[in-house]
Symmetry: C2
Subunit: 348 residues, 2 copies
Amino acid sequence: MFDNIAKTNLESLGEFGLIAHITSAVKFKQPTTVKGIGDDAAVLDFSGKKTLVSTDLLLEGIHFDLRYVPLKHLGYKAVQVNLSDIYAMNGVASQITFSLGLSSKFPLEAVEELYSGALLACEKYHVDLVGGDTSASAQGLVISVTSIGHAAAEDIVYRSGAQEGDLLCVSGDLGGAYVGLQLLEREKRIFLENPNIQPDLEGKDYVVERQLKPESRKDIVQLLADLSVKPTAMIDVSDGLASEILHICHASDKGCKLHEDKIPIDPMTYDTSREFGLDPTVCALNGGEDYELLFTIQQADYDRIKNQPDISVIGYITEKSAGCELISKSGKVHPIKAQGWNAFRDNS
Amino acid sequence: MFDNIAKTNLESLGEFGLIAHITSAVKFKQPTTVKGIGDDAAVLDFSGKKTLVSTDLLLEGIHFDLRYVPLKHLGYKAVQVNLSDIYAMNGVASQITFSLGLSSKFPLEAVEELYSGALLACEKYHVDLVGGDTSASAQGLVISVTSIGHAAAEDIVYRSGAQEGDLLCVSGDLGGAYVGLQLLEREKRIFLENPNIQPDLEGKDYVVERQLKPESRKDIVQLLADLSVKPTAMIDVSDGLASEILHICHASDKGCKLHEDKIPIDPMTYDTSREFGLDPTVCALNGGEDYELLFTIQQADYDRIKNQPDISVIGYITEKSAGCELISKSGKVHPIKAQGWNAFRDNS
């Protein structure tokens, strides 16, 4: 690994040297950042607004495979995954902390790649990197990101606010990240069997990018604000549509009807899942890692969102006793079950 | 490992089951916690005050050795280490997120032990656990803690505020955690050579506890407020006194004189370091992990702190060109060098 990059030993730099080196590229742009890196804690000013905090752990061999995930993409994705949680509260993401545990195989240049991806995400999403921790790791790469944001109390959207009759909506399309992962895993197996065969990902850019370089939906939060639509409940799609719908229904003490034919699936996701003998709907329901926003809105708001190409109405909220059900394309009714990713099971 | 506890497999619980199980013990007590666990992000209300954020990564085989660190102590220490950074800003710590990466060797009961230690620290320090992430780990235990606090703008103390003539002070005593680590490492080696010999830590409670169960100095922040003393600069002692003094001098663009005979060292630390053939002063300067507070105050405040048994004046701040110097007991002058812990070097 890292064959084609220069190698500077981390031990010679030390932790403080590494931090100084890395953070020299960090610029603070957010008015809410009073003090970023360089003291015991970051100091943030949300003058009267609520503070939002979310955290994620990404571990080598569990969440990513360095044999096909470029480090810059990984840094970028680690940040997106985390910002997504702030947007899912209908909040403004404004800062992150970014921590790394690095095994001895990582030269400085690999760390720079990781950070350059993280900083690219920060720049694109107008977020300041205000802290972190950097350490050796006995085994594998450890990434821990905490994202911090803010919102006025009246703007915050919880998972628990869905009401009977509300429309169930989702942004973008689903299943692509999971199908992209299948492709990358297949090419890895082929490569391991015969290293002379180069990966064949031609014409599959979209699903590969959905897996390697997801974008959190800051734009949807902005769009809803522009349309004067405040969701009644919201969550981001990290574990798969089925799991997230159940989270909203459980937190809101409601049931739902989900229409299979309304679930947005990109043609490339559809075709590629078929190539793998997978049901595209199952990829959307249980694949996860799409980082789209799933939300409920009042029926009265339907006219405001109906012509938005990036928002699909996929069902509606019912009373709890009606259960959480999928209406299939053929009209059959199935209970929705969460078969999303279980971090403690072998998911391969 | 974990021979004497019941074992419930984590895979059978799944991530959500584990989170539900663990978080059932979490109660929110802080008025600043609007919403804790159970949504995409925690919601905190610091109404007009600044938000403080700090994060730490603790990795098995680097920061701790499960062969002699009890899990409950480890959970407790992981929280203390992180709260310490908020106190070092002269802030009020009010929330943490607590994330775990768990290898398959960990049964539920081990995770419960870890959490019980973390929650004990939360309870004792009046901090809410408001979020986290829980995942499998391919190898080894990963702990990531983010602590969140708040302070009025005028109360925050940075590393950069030390002025020429300010007194350099430290709370408690130093070097104990490092000496405790030497003891534990020695007993581990003896045990590995002959498992029938039980660890001999008798009469060494204080230094062992300094290593295994440190306390962050919330009480010192309170004491200084009660005395109406606002430090001009502050940092916590995690890497060793020498390293922290240099941080303050560097950030403040100043020099300092540190008097060896003023460095507070507990008699047990002193005697035990001698047993190991170590210089007690070197243990205090470079040992680290004491989590005491190092701070500077104006000379005018000396009378207010001079009778406080838990605060020692150990030197003073000079102009930068005078350098950072240690005056030894024999009157010799040495430049202060940071030989603290380098996470990328073999420190054993």
